[in-house]
Symmetry: C2
Subunit: 310 residues, 2 copies
């Protein structure tokens, strides 16, 4: 197979785009496409201060790399969760995120859960009933809380995450299995900020297949953590990805159609529009000042209070 742009040997074939590219043109194509998505979904501009949540994995480091190459002003945020399983997961991923930032002269903020809150994710998980012994639920909540807090307190206009098409399709899939309309209404390339303090969020990679992200990271020489989080084994999202991978194999392009037709359906007014949060009774947590759906402390602070009181 030959590169459509130069006729050299192609390194990747993307049947859903009827496009094969060589290394050089693939490494050009990815930032061009990302720029196109940033514009199309009105994600952010070149004057905005952007905060990228980086985990040390291929998606978030590639995102940061692409935004840097495109000339956006983007700092990184690494949240140290203190997960020791696998290849000493957190320490290794932090090392790779720091190395990445250093090589490019970029600013990486590090937020250490253990030093800020006295306990690692694993320790918090052991002391809460949330999530039935899987720390994923606790971890997700903590990360959302920290990302939002840092983005607001440090004055970033937008928080970006490295969710790719496979991630988004799996979330969508899960949210249709039990028709979680509220989540469906909120899913998209951009989640707007609200007056009570939810930071604006964007997902510039949401239209790239996971394999395209892997190819970008490998071809551009980004050193990233290969392993999945050791806690992710057996998670629902991995299960949904397996189902979707089977269908994608049978019908190439299915995931992209699935996600894009969902976005189109939303534009026509299908699904309830995200509730006007202020009117729907969003509150401010008296402890941390972050927005929360119920009156009183937010879930994060409630959990931390309970743990420290225990």
């Amino acid at each position: 197979m030959k590169c459509r742009k130069c006729g050299e040997k192609a390194v990747i074939n993307m049947p859903q785009h009827k496009l094969a590219l060589c290394k050089q043109h693939y490494l050009e194509w990815m930032p061009e496409q990302t720029e196109r998505f940033i514009q199309k979904y009105h994600m952010f501009g070149r004057e905005d201060r952007i905060l990228a949540a980086v985990s040390g994995g291929k998606d978030s480091l590639s995102l940061w790399d692409i935004l840097w190459r495109l000339g956006y002003k983007c700092d990184g945020l690494y949240i140290c969760l203190g997960i020791e399983g696998g290849v000493n997961y957190s320490a290794e991923s932090q090392r790779l995120a720091e190395k990445f930032a250093e090589e490019r002269g970029l600013r990486l903020r590090v937020y250490d859960i253990a030093s800020e809150h006295g306990q690692t994710i694993s320790e918090i998980n052991a002391r809460t009933s949330r999530g039935q012994n899987k720390p994923c639920s606790v971890c997700g909540m903590v990360k959302r809380q920290v990302m939002n807090r840092v983005a607001r307190e440090e004055g970033y206009q937008v928080l970006v995450t490295g969710h790719n098409l496979d991630d988004e399709a799996a979330v969508l899939f899960g949210n249709t299995l039990n028709w979680a309309v509220g989540y469906l209404a909120r899913q998209g390339p951009v989640l707007e900020a609200n007056a009570l303090g939810l930071a604006r969020k964007a997902k510039p990679l949401c239209r790239f297949y996971e394999r395209e992200m892997t190819a970008y990271a490998l071809l551009s020489g980004i050193e990233y953590i290969y392993d999945e989080c050791p806690y992710a084994v057996g998670s629902k999202s991995i299960y949904y990805k397996e189902i979707l991978n089977k269908m994608e194999a049978d019908r190439p392009g299915l995931k992209l159609t699935y996600y894009l037709s969902f976005l189109e359906a939303k534009k026509t007014g299908a699904f309830i529009k995200p509730a006007d949060d202020e009117k729907e009774g969003m509150h401010t947590c008296p402890t941390c000042g972050q927005p929360t759906t119920a009156a009183g402390e937010c879930s994060f602070c409630k959990m931390m209070t309970k743990i420290h009181g225990a």
Copy 2:
């Protein structure tokens, strides 16, 4: 495993209901549950004249049997499609439908596509470009047209079909893969009639798993056609059923939750409401008098005109 009602040996276990039943109690339970669904979704009353579309398969014959046992006034409609594959599919299914009606003293209307329109489904399919050589698209359109016509012309208040939960879940699944919002808006246990002549439709079996329907047909001694339509091999709906069966095996109850939470989501106002068809420009076909979405002849008449003109 023992019957929950009498302690005798159970013949079926339904984990999603935490319920195992013996033959006798299962054959009582199915009509009771069907009655509950008829009431819950306001499908029809005992004074209504009901027309059941019967194919000779387990679902439609079981439906007719259950409605008969429950004391509803229900005639059958068998549409002879002229499909000769497999076990001489159409002839055999017609024989079984007629035998069923005769044994119970019920009225079966037979509509023969070939004598009414000069050609069988297989022949029509060979002369149209619709459906890429698979007659399923043509067949579905023809059946919808005929069912609606007979229901209206013969003054039935409601047309019922034997769609079970597996059928409905597969349709739902397919309609979310490309987010066909119009179809999502119309899917449900009841589709209301409209002023232009769409008959009221109901699916009393929509909450029963396919295996529950098979068990009912077998245990009540209904003789039905075991084979799938020979044309159905490789169809999308069978593919979607396979995917859902895999997920159901991993998470028992998944299909039921999937379908019921969809109905709940619709009730909260998610998805566009079915368009008010009159306002949205529904028309009456000048040839057959049936409702159609575009001005001029309906798809059915257009196809027949083209075939006869060819």
